[in-house]
Symmetry: C2
Subunit: 497 residues, 2 copies
């Protein structure tokens, strides 16, 4: 096997980079702790420590000798793919560090920290007016950010690029243009089906939390087994964080009822974790360790969530465990079909995080259209609430009765995260293409094959490649029709049309 890193300049870069890596590593551990075990009063001091850490890290990155090494590396010939990946990743970081003035970043940080507090208040009191001035500030700051960062066509491009390298507004528009009508039609067919239900009884059924915890671990053990490198904990919203391919952590949640939410949360995060766990050792402590493209990352989590967790094979395999988890007051034995319908219910709803495989994308389209409108100046913040509600009506036929179920539901904007949402839909659509590529061998009985395939074709590269290059390397092209066909086929079977 040829070595990933051999160029003298790159090796020098990687050695110096380890300092920056170490600071990032420490910050990641502290962040995991914050989300899982930190006593609540510790937040304020931790915020101070994070602030200092990021400044120290930025200063190390911008040290003259490091920056000139990067530029020297850029000019080197005959680099391996990994070496090119390192340069690409560092140039990208350098762009953010150098183009955004420090007083701007400080203002951005201050505004979003305040806004997150206000957003919580506004959400809890269903009062969009309270949040509106902050939303306005945040979108103004994001417009400025786009100008600092630079773009070719739309300023929204510059913002999306933060989360998915090179992703353009035009591409996303084309993508949504391609899926909007087919998904609408599919949803209508499902809603007209005699099998359509407004609420499944399992959504309200209480479960035994201890048993569900055990089941989460049991399932993970079937998927992965090596708990010397993986942890599962609890947090207010499931997430994955990876410190290295020898220490990657996921979390899930428990809500007393609706047990699939917890299981699918675990499985979704496992999909993310596997990407990091199977990154090759050579990339450890480099700028290209772990998966960084959000679209690829989401394609992994969705692959496991939808193609494993929601599959009939999976449900058959764990049916008895589901029965046992639900046996709170009396023993339960439900037919597989009941579980299959419950795991795969499709229904217009108000909350994105609770949305199913079909309606989910309308939630994303709505956010994309609002964000783009605001950033391109064709929409005013004062109209956001109204636009939100009318688009919900248009796409899903439901209107939020309160803003906490509508425009105030996501934390993203308050934290300054603009341009992120499209990656959720793109990743989900891409997941169906990986499944198709693996073909018939993708089965719950054959997860060893699936894991190895993903390692070989995606995971081991970490973030050596951009999304486009990784697809090319696998002789693929992004094609939304694959997921559309999968959804049509799957739901016509479940809903019988």
């Amino acid at each position: 096997m040829s070595k990933a890193f051999r160029n003298r300049v790159i090796l020098n870069i990687l050695d110096k980079y380890k300092d920056i890596w170490a600071l990032g590593y420490m910050g990641a551990v502290a962040n995991w702790d914050l989300e899982t075990y930190m006593p609540v009063s510790g937040a304020k001091v931790r915020g101070e420590a994070f602030g200092r850490l990021s400044t120290i890290s930025q200063n190390l990155f911008l040290k003259k000798d490091f920056v000139s090494l990067i530029h020297k590396g850029e000019k080197e010939k005959n680099l391996t793919d990994e070496e090119k990946g390192v340069i690409r990743a560092l140039i990208r970081s350098l762009k953010y560090y150098t183009r955004l003035p420090s007083d701007f970043l400080e203002k951005y940080e201050k505004t979003t920290t305040e806004a997150t507090v206000i957003w919580r208040e506004a959400r809890d009191s269903n009062n969009f007016k309270l949040f509106e001035p902050y939303l306005s500030k945040i979108f103004n700051l994001n417009k400025a950010k786009a100008e600092y960062l630079g773009y070719k066509d739309s300023p929204y491009d510059a913002l999306m690029d933060q989360y998915e390298e090179n992703l353009s507004t035009r591409e996303v528009e084309l993508f949504f243009g391609e899926i909007r009508e087919p998904l609408k039609e599919l949803l209508v067919k499902i809603q007209k089906s005699p099998k359509y239900f407004k609420e499944h009884k399992l959504e309200k059924a209480l479960y035994n939390e201890e048993k569900l915890k055990d089941l989460n671990f049991k399932i993970l053990e079937t998927f992965w087994a090596d708990f010397s490198r993986l942890r599962l904990d609890i947090s207010s919203h499931p997430f994955t964080t990876s410190f290295s391919n020898t220490d990657t952590r996921i979390t899930t949640w428990y809500h007393k009822s609706d047990f699939a939410r917890s299981l699918l949360g675990t499985i979704h995060e496992f999909g993310h974790a596997l990407y990091d766990l199977q990154c090759k050792d050579e990339l450890e402590m480099t700028p290209i360790v772990g998966g960084t493209s959000l679209v690829i990352h989401e394609s992994q989590s969705r692959l496991w969530e939808n193609f494993v967790g929601r599959s009939e094979g999976f449900i058959r395999k764990y049916k008895k465990d589901f029965d046992s988890v639900l046996s709170v007051k009396q023993s339960v034995s439900l037919p597989v079909d009941q579980y299959l319908q419950y795991f795969n219910k499709v229904r217009p709803s108000l909350l994105r995080v609770e949305a199913d495989e079909v309606t989910y994308h309308f939630h994303i389209m709505l956010r994309f259209e609002i964000e783009k409108g605001l950033i391109e100046g064709r929409l005013k913040v004062r109209d956001v609430r109204e636009v939100w509600n009318s688009k919900m009506k248009e796409y899903l036929g439901v209107i939020p009765k309160k803003d906490s179920d509508g425009v105030l539901q996501d934390i993203h904007w308050s934290g300054g995260t603009v341009g992120y949402f499209p990656t959720y839909s793109l990743g989900t659509f891409l997941s169906a293409q990986w499944e198709q590529k693996m073909g018939l061998e993708f089965r719950i009985q054959n997860l060893e094959f699936v894991k190895n395939w993903l390692e070989e074709h995606i995971h081991k590269y970490g973030s050596t490649y951009t999304l486009d290059d990784l697809l090319k390397k696998n002789h693929m092209k992004f094609d939304p029709s694959v997921n559309l066909k999968y959804l049509e086929k799957k739901y016509s079977k479940i809903y019988g049309f």
Copy 2:
């Protein structure tokens, strides 16, 4: 209330110091994680991250402008006690950073990392010969360290000073000289007592771990109650770590039987934690936050462990809980006296960490004498095992059958920690003086008073003062006779002589 920090130079120092603080903070979080939740395979990469972090921190500390600021601060007049404390603490760190050459530190780090691995092997196979060459290297390195650091009388002074500022070999010798005979006599009296027992049945009695966990929390709640600032977790050896006075964490252990070990572990660590939790807010993020004198720290943990946890009042208060924890096979109700004897058993034993209030100090004397002998060149490493065993015979009348119960029992030497042990005994003796100072108000029924007293007289100052200065401030002088009298009185009652 007057401000702790007002001098312009000091304020400038403190602002710059926050970077170093933040790195220390992150390292502490990562270290807590390592001891509690880290998947085992994560250790190697974490080691790399720690290594980089400490270099970055040292580089920040040794930056020219920071060092010259410290020296400028040294010359400032009319400093507050806290400001003087800051300068004292920084000058102390500077001494270590500047006097120890980096190639020496690297060698030290490398040797002790290797030695710790070998020590575990040697301990597990009861083979001192395996560890001997490493012990030899480590003591040679420590001799060199003492020369680098400098000292007045004994090179061992320089090593102890790392753990307790200004502590001298001469003082420790006088201290042990004062306690050796009285403790021996007390031990003989206990051993001759008709109430003396070789093993208490509660040492082997199994307990219900879930109930004991709950009891640990229940006790902590009586002591402190504010779990928004304190956590209790599990680790292989109990410890305390404090990230701030709003986030301090302790751990305990569980061994299936001998429940007092777990409870007293929790209570001991709580004593450490309280010192950090009650440090005043103004000292947060400064070099004098939290208690740093190891003797004072140990005096706090021992105060809670011995004067609260082993007290009759405590045992009466929780007797029913003890009964319940022990009710594994059948319901249990033991008389208070049984528990009192069990919590306060005195008996020569081989292991320091299991030793009682009387015999503990012989374990420390033995280690002190061996360390001093090796550092001062009067003892050879090849004779350490024999000296250990003969001193055990002399002090406690027992000889280890295997080295893992003897010379190989502590992790300290393999990690390069030489000069630390004496602080355990000194702290324990000091704890009795605090109790005496508080007088009759020290009662399990009056822990609010105890906490407030400790806050007012010790905790709020963090490490503003050295041990000597803190004692002076409280109109006290270190006096071993107080603990000797307490032991005599307590154990004459329990053992009836």
